[in-house]
Subunit: 186 residues, 3 copies
């Protein structure tokens, strides 16, 4: 091997090594560094279910109130929630954490929402929190919100969470499947 060939070979090696060190930023298909799937269960207070309710309307438009979801696709209803997180789709499974935060119905013509919330874990399996924000056009089969940060086991996490309505019963109960893919893990 000559010196010139060597320089060329090493230059290629260097390029190769760099691109493989940070593949997710370059390639079109990104591979998550962590993936987690959970379900969470929301039981909205309706004036009669105060024992079971995990969520309550706390803001409503002038034409609405706080025990019945408003007309016009609930536009303007702001809900606070503390929902159990489970590993399967059974409301009565042992919760592995809590989903806590707010959502607000934000469109008159169809159902859509905006979410700001956290998953809070304090078990042997997971300790820490994952923070989310984003639009939830809930008539779509799946929709993506952002993982905007994390603490504890999820220190500095960023990624995408795909929401899917797994069940919807009247205007009292819904269950979301959340497929979390983190692309920044520390």
């Amino acid at each position: 091997m000559e010196a010139k060939t060597l320089v060329l070979a090493l230059f290629l090696l260097l390029l190769l090594s760099q691109s493989s060190a940070f593949p997710s930023r370059k390639s079109r298909v990104h591979k998550p560094c962590k993936r987690l799937v959970f379900y969470f269960h929301d039981v909205i207070y309706n004036g009669r279910n105060s024992k079971n309710a995990t969520a309550a309307i706390v803001g409503a438009p002038a034409w609405g109130n706080r025990t019945i979801l408003a007309n016009q696709n609930h536009f303007g209803d702001l809900v606070v929630f503390d929902d159990p997180i489970t590993l399967d789709n059974n409301l009565h499974s042992a919760p592995v954490g809590r989903a806590q935060g707010i959502y607000v119905y934000d469109k008159k013509e169809i159902f859509t929402a905006w979410l700001g919330f956290s998953f809070v874990f304090n078990s042997t399996e997971h300790k820490g929190s994952i923070n989310f924000a984003g639009a939830d056009p809930l008539m779509n089969k799946t929709r993506d919100v952002s993982v905007i940060g994390g603490t504890g086991d999820f220190f500095m996490a960023r990624g995408i969470a795909t929401l899917m309505t797994d069940a919807f019963e009247g205007e009292v109960y819904f269950r979301l499947r959340v497929d979390i893919r983190l692309y920044e893990c520390w």
Copy 2:
């Protein structure tokens, strides 16, 4: 070329290559990887404009109500919105997406707000969402909020959005110009 010279040359090459691979983190003046400018239009419900309104007061302080913005610079008024996004400053231009989320007036002495919202796109031009959060001291000519995440075409985006009040009519209509500069593009 001798072996030693070669090692030195390659070491310099390596340093050079690495620093140029991540210039934005090193230089003082950052260049966005993507830049987008939009306008969005907010028509607040005032008891008489339910057809045109794109936003409604859903929370108010004890001294306020939900059809008139409160005294003391609207301190405590929480607004839910679903505002059309346009490419120019004309309310009647074809919307290219929706700005959805909440803002809250948060200071008694002057107008300031706090925003949590998303831009939602579903056109041939853009599919996906951009998520924002931050303080909006709206008496300043320009003010910056954070792009905290994105989905679809804006997968994992981070950056800065500079807001500018482009029009303000009574207490019913305002228009914001949003200059989005992303510094993390995947």
Copy 3:
């Protein structure tokens, strides 16, 4: 030195150089690139303190109102705030900025909250904002929320803020100590 040995040596050099260029992502103990400690002071409006109040209940559940924090650990109370930030734990020290945003009590059984807010600075010391979101299980001595972005001096910041309740007086005043550690600085 032979050519082969040289290739090997340079390959090792390359690996070494790369791992040292991004130590924070690899090591288990992360060192912040910036650390800041502040206090902020929240005086909730209770119907009698409108002059001093820096925060007000603007959303409440059906069983609550907007001058008295609700039963069931204030579940559902949504508060808007514009709190002074100080360098020490004295409410009457000169403020160095404002903490602005919302918090919501989100659990019936114990006190917990969810926060979305910003620190806004406009002094010779600091210009810009730091944006936060996360769960605040406020009965814990310390709890972590995410720094989800920043502007100005805190351009593109990410990190962790550890909250500690430094004082709590009746249901009117509390003071939080905030220990901000940024792990992404631009």
